[in-house]
């Protein structure tokens, strides 16, 4: 990928993310489903639209367009120098470094977890425990999905995630079972099954692939993270609808207790109940759960408007 393409993808990602965030705030869109669609739209611009503009509209890459027609031409900032280096070049270097740092921050633990998981596969393991299996079957029926198989791992760490893109398997550690009693366990299982019902594991891996493809793009990294956060919120809401919000928040709190976070395990590049949970995160998710439900708004019309608006806007950003 050429330097111009990389610059455009970063610039378009930043503008798209800012524009969509402003729209979500202005339109007061709190529904997780709608927010995911809007973030996906923003993500499409650096991933798909920016390369399309470059390939199909070479006119935009000319000096004439940058000098006369562009609403914003980043190259103009190279005329301003800091320590002998153009500001555009400096900012570009900083953004690429930030993108790589954001990517590695999430990718390295994922690789480490995958390695640990393979190593631990040789450890003690009991499959398809009857009690948990019945709970999973009951909740799967409520969510209208096929119940995934259950694997219980003999581990002290609180491990709780769904593995598999198409054939799912719920992986739970003894430590989780020891710390979550009936209603809390039901809420936690409902959360993970809600991910299965919405095909979040597949979406999570696709997002990770997008992040890998644009590992240097900080906007893509942040947008993908925002989508994952909304997926978590959506799963929390689904679990709360099947159980009770206070059970979900209590399950989150128990699994995030400092003594519990002995290791981070993940079967997919999504935050599961047991990973990436700090106090602020838990409070935010609990507050979102206990807040009045966001009103569903006419998303398709707004999404179309946002897409067309962004397309026109970014045509003039080079």
């Amino acid at each position: 990928m050429g330097e111009i393409a990389i610059r455009q993808a970063i610039l378009h990602g930043i503008v798209a993310a800012g524009f969509v965030e402003a729209l979500l705030r202005t339109w007061k869109m709190g529904c997780a489903d709608a927010r995911i669609r809007f973030w996906m739209l923003a993500l499409a611009f650096p991933l798909l639209v920016a390369p399309l503009f470059l390939a199909a509209l070479p006119l935009r890459s000319t000096d004439w367009f940058a000098g006369r027609w562009a609403l914003f031409a980043s190259a103009r900032w190279n005329a301003v120098r800091l320590a002998g280096i153009g500001v555009d070049t400096l900012v570009f270097a900083v953004l690429v470094a930030a993108g790589l740092a954001l990517f590695l921050r999430d990718a390295v633990p994922l690789v480490v977890d995958a390695w640990r998981e393979r190593r631990d596969d040789a450890g003690a393991r009991v499959d398809d425990v009857a009690d948990l299996g019945a709970l999973v079957a009951d909740l799967s029926h409520a969510l209208r999905i096929l119940p995934p198989a259950v694997t219980i791992v003999a581990a002290d760490a609180r491990v709780f995630f769904v593995r598999g893109l198409l054939n799912h398997r719920l992986v739970v550690s003894h430590a989780v079972l020891a710390h979550l009693d009936g209603p809390r366990l039901r809420a936690a299982v409902a959360h993970e099954l809600a991910h299965v019902a919405r095909r979040d594991p597949l979406a999570g891996w696709l997002l990770m692939a997008a992040r890998l493809a644009m590992c240097w793009n900080p906007a893509v990294q942040l947008l993908a993270r925002a989508i994952v956060q909304e997926m978590e919120r959506r799963a929390d809401q689904a679990a709360a609808a099947l159980t009770a919000p206070e059970h979900v928040t209590e399950a989150l709190r128990r699994l995030a207790a400092p003594a519990a976070r002995t290791t981070r395990r993940s079967g997919m590049p999504l935050r599961t109940l047991t990973e990436h949970l700090d106090g602020a995160h838990i409070r935010a998710r609990a507050a979102a759960l206990l807040a009045p439900a966001a009103r569903e708004t006419s998303t398709p019309a707004r999404l179309t408007l946002a897409g067309v608006g962004l397309g026109v806007l970014l045509f003039f950003v080079v």
Binding site: G18, A22, T26, W64, G67, F72, A79, V80, L305, G309
Partner: protein, 176 residues
């Protein structure tokens, strides 16, 4: 819904436009002027041969976009005392018209002034025009205008016109 969308859109447009204008306020280039690090960079991008005395480029090349597209660059090694360095300007695209007093370099590249005198001048088989121009700040400059490879070329020098001829000879020696 639509009003809020328009508000966000206009806000974004205003922000981007302000960021686009800020470099000019911070001592950068006016809108419509692009900087290139070297003559080679311009030649590679536009696939043209630029006329310049060998090894005398000082600083960057500034390009004013549009038709025919003028570019300007300063030369070192020829400034006398505190005088500003000579400047070479030339079009990127072939110019259809001969050099007349109407032909001007955009003021975004070099400051304009009052034409005091223009006379024809011939050297190295080229018909050129020698101009004396009084700039707005009271500086007197000499300019030599001619066509090279179908494109307009202008040399501007502060002070003595003799150095203009020397520079002209250096440039035309580069023409194959």
């Amino acid at each position: 819904m639509l009003m809020r969308f328009l508000a966000v859109s206009l806000g974004t447009v205003a922000l981007l436009a302000a960021l686009n204008l800020l470099p000019t306020c911070l001592g950068g280039e006016p809108r419509g002027v692009i900087r290139y690090p070297s003559l080679e960079a311009v030649e590679a991008r536009y696939r043209v041969r630029l006329w310049a005395p060998a090894g005398r480029l000082a600083g960057e090349v500034r390009l004013s976009v549009g038709e025919p597209g003028w570019l300007a660059f300063a030369l070192n090694g020829l400034a006398g005392g505190t005088l500003a360095p000579p400047v070479v300007c030339q079009t990127l695209a072939p110019a259809t018209a001969d050099v007349t007093p109407d032909v001007q370099v955009p003021e975004t590249l070099v400051p304009g002034g009052e034409l005091l005198q223009a006379r024809e001048w011939t050297a190295a088989d080229r018909r050129a025009q020698l101009r004396r121009v009084l700039l707005a700040d009271g500086t007197l400059v000499h300019e030599l205008w001619w066509r090279e490879g179908g494109r307009h070329v202008m040399l501007r020098i502060h002070g003595d016109a003799d150095r203009l001829v020397r520079l002209f000879n250096e440039i035309v020696r580069q023409v194959p």
